[in-house]
Symmetry: C2
């Protein structure tokens, strides 16, 4: 082991790497949404008063849409929470439409946006922090969805599957 200190401005993750990371997590989250029995997705909680996984999924959808739009335009608008999907079919349709948008439009994001301050509705942070936070928040709530599925007696999708 060397004791030399290396340059830490080198990239750990490129934009292409981040896009793969984001889309891979979205594919797994889609499988978790789809794994729920339709009549439990918006009603069941493994630890009331925690929200249903369907309600969490609506939040994840809105935050990801805001993140794509924010990185593209520089405008980070409070999501229209009241318009959240209310059924499994609605949530999956919204999910797929946004995944297609991310895949098509991510390359249009100005790389400088990742270093610029992003004015989110809940505070200012660098664009890359907002982007990685959106994915982390998805992983966090999806982990909760795994407990809900286990409590419902359903085997969740493999975590490493992307």
């Amino acid at each position: 082991m060397t004791t030399q200190m290396h340059e830490v401005s080198a990239p750990a993750l490129t934009l292409a790497g981040f896009l793969d990371h984001w889309l891979g997590h979205r594919r797994l989250t889609r499988r978790v949404i789809a794994a729920f029995p339709e009549d439990q997705l918006f009603t069941f909680s493994a630890a009331p008063p925690m929200r249903s996984f369907g309600e969490m999924g609506g939040e994840l959808h809105f935050v990801s849409a805001m993140t794509l739009d924010g990185l593209l335009s520089g405008e980070w608008k409070e999501p229209a929470w009241a318009a959240a999907p209310r059924t499994q079919a609605e949530l999956l349709a919204a999910w797929d439409a946004l995944s297609a948008r991310i895949e098509a439009e991510f390359g249009q994001i100005d790389p400088a946006m990742f270093g610029r301050v992003a004015p989110l509705p809940w505070g200012e942070m660098p664009g890359w922090v907002a982007a990685i936070y959106a994915v982390d928040n998805e992983v966090h709530h999806r982990g909760q969805g795994y407990v809900y599925l286990r409590a419902l007696g359903t085997e969740p999708p493999a975590f490493y599957g992307r």
Copy 2:
């Protein structure tokens, strides 16, 4: 919105950014471990036969230690699972010692390691994939810990707190 496609080899996340990301998540996970009643950390499950959060925490500790050692040395050794911490005090002590090592030794990692193939015990992947996977796995299981805490009637630490 421009329709120009931008260079996607630009960094989304620098090594310094990744270090902050990793340590910030570790600080939050430490708070979650500490929030458990001592007699529930290694016994309670919100959805048996899921593991206790203490057992998950041992896994997270070992995988993070393997990740630091692997990025430093190029050797990714199967963790000594049988030596896992068995009490809250042991887990917190192991956690703190590793956080101190990450902070002190991360700058000694050759940046090329993030692009090189890392031979993990469960498969080969680029170093940065192994690194971000370790953090994702932590966020995933910590999210499960939040459900356990709620089921135990304990308010978990704020997700955005780092």
